[in-house]
Symmetry: C2
Subunit: 330 residues, 2 copies
DNA sequence: TTGTATGCGTTATCAG
DNA sequence: CTGATAACGCATACAA
């Protein structure tokens, strides 16, 4: 491994100058820059990261904690963040949490001890207060998490709008009695989706006072539970908006178990556009969102504020309705 | 951030001694060790990684390249590797490839320039020769890739056995005319699965000379292609063994498009046990394997040989048949 | 615009 | 078993 010393000898300049061209300083004349660049190329020089980090007190590494890597789109998100960061010549250190505050806290502690320059968080367990506290000591960037005081560090999905449009679509198809399976109440995105449902209903002059909303944990089992609940309540409905595609699968299973057929007996619309939504029968109509773009935006934002002291602004991403075969027009 | 200097002042020893207790050297008497430990605890001391790396010429980081993070189980694998490494006090640097040799090569180059201490490779594009070449300059550990000369650095799945048992199961259920959709011929695991199929057939005295094997790229579309091919060949079959669950989904779709019902008209068995196999109807019988265990084993192996100069041995993992509803007894 | 000198926090060599 | 001390490779004031 060539060192800066060999480069400066070959180029006939000082180490400081080489360091300047490495870091793209503008205080170096074009001629010397070229000379140095040539020397670096000839030697195949690669800066030693540890030395850089030690001298500059910067690891050039951003940490990312993901609450559970086996989730539907977390892998994709991570890959996109990694790609973006690599392009910007920074690195990504991953720590996977397990969906609970404790393990996420531990992951953050781990990353901090690895002295990352900043944190990208795709977590579910941490409270707003905890997040805010962490951000005092290290730049924090959020994905899909609205935290008061960190609005400008967040990249989020218009969950409200997505659910609104999904519900609206059902209404346009003639449905009036619509039931909603919401995610857990401690999850921001779940709440926004439920709110989107309610608003769309009200805007259409439809009643939502009859308990048509049931909260469950996301996942297949939740969908089944909710459907049983609706039956116990003897609710009439011709369509259900599910808080997630997985929940929708639970609804599918419940329908199957009860001899009901979708969308003839009732319609279903999901949220997330996971792969499975195209595999399931009937193919699931659902709400899609730009995973990769969101991830890249987050990485970009982190880069800009951490390394360029840029001012950042929160950015909202929009959903898109993906119409398949789980909704019937009445 | 406390430094080693403050620790040694507080403990009344030299930096060298502190360093020794940090690294668990045995050449330090118990009394001083305790003294130092107490000082470290009191100060909340955390060694500076960059300084350690610079001085020791070791990053304590292992790089991992994954050919495509959005794949079915790659995220899970990565999370498991990360967890294992973290437990061992090492770090994971990720680089995602895109399933082709070029991007994987670039990912490796990237990780090397980040001076990782070793590489865990879950790739698909790189040739054996390329892999072998890379391993000359840096310790390489493989997941699911048999490379001559790197046998002892590999953790792999018994793809042959898995396909063998799947086929055998079909035969036990009374099937005689069985057709096989294989993955691409340049993929080791695909070949092993095909071989497992052939052997199981032969062992049962069944004929495989009539072109019952068709190779496609993995994925839904591949399954459809293969089924069309079988029809063109006017092959008779009562069951198909698919090279992957995704391929099996393609078979499902083809059946649906052609008004055939599984498993009444023909049976299907998959491979991988992805989530979708439980979501699809009928639920897919398939071949499962221990993703997390394989990942951990790989991380452990890398750790042992890189940091403890241990000798390693390749380890094979076994599959398990997961019986659901896509196979009918004849 | 460039060079000099110093320090970053550890590890490792060599004495003691 | 412990202590000095010289690297490790680079960044950055400061000087020129």
């Amino acid at each position: 491994m060539a060192t800066i010393k060999q480069v400066c000898e070959l180029a006939g300049v000082s180490a400081a100058t080489v360091s300047r061209v490495i870091n793209g300083s503008d205080r170096v004349i074009e001629a010397t820059r070229k000379k140095v660049q040539a020397a670096m190329d000839e030697l195949g020089y690669q800066p030693n990261l540890a030395a850089q980090a030690l001298a500059s007190n910067r690891s050039n590494t951003i940490g990312m904690v993901i609450s559970g890597l086996d989730g539907p789109f977390y892998g994709t998100m991570m890959a996109a963040v990694e790609a973006q960061l690599r392009e910007l010549n920074r690195h990504l250190l991953i720590a996977s949490g397990h969906g609970n505050a404790e393990s996420e806290e531990e992951a953050i502690k781990y990353l901090s001890s690895r002295q990352v320059d900043g944190l990208i968080l795709l977590t579910e367990g941490l409270s707003s207060e905890a997040l805010l506290a962490i951000s005092q000591s290290i730049p924090v960037f959020l994905i899909n998490q609205q935290v008061p005081g960190l609005e400008n560090r967040n990249v989020w999905l218009d969950n409200f709008g997505g659910a609104y449009r999904a519900t609206q679509h059902l209404i346009e198809q003639g449905h009036r009695n619509i039931v909603c399976i919401g995610g857990p109440a401690f999850k921001q995105d779940a709440n926004d989706r439920v709110a989107g449902f309610e608003t769309a209903m009200r805007d259409a002059g439809l009643d939502v006072s009859g308990q048509p909303i049931f909260r469950v944990t996301f996942g297949v089992e939740g969908g089944r539970q909710a459907m049983n609940y609706f039956r116990e309540q003897q609710l009439e409905y011709s369509a259900v908006v599910a808080g997630s595609d997985e929940t929708a699968v639970g609804v599918y299973e419940w329908a199957e178990e009860n001899g009901l057929v979708i969308p003839d007996d009732f319609s279903v619309i999901g949220f997330d556009n996971m792969n499975l939504s195209a595999y399931v029968r009937p193919k699931l109509s659902t709400v899609a969102f730009p995973i990769v773009e969101m991830a890249k935006a987050s990485a970009r934002m982190a880069f800009d504020v951490i390394y360029n002291k840029a001012h950042s602004e929160g950015v909202e991403f929009n959903t898109e309705l993906v119409l398949r075969n789980s909704v019937k027009a009445l």
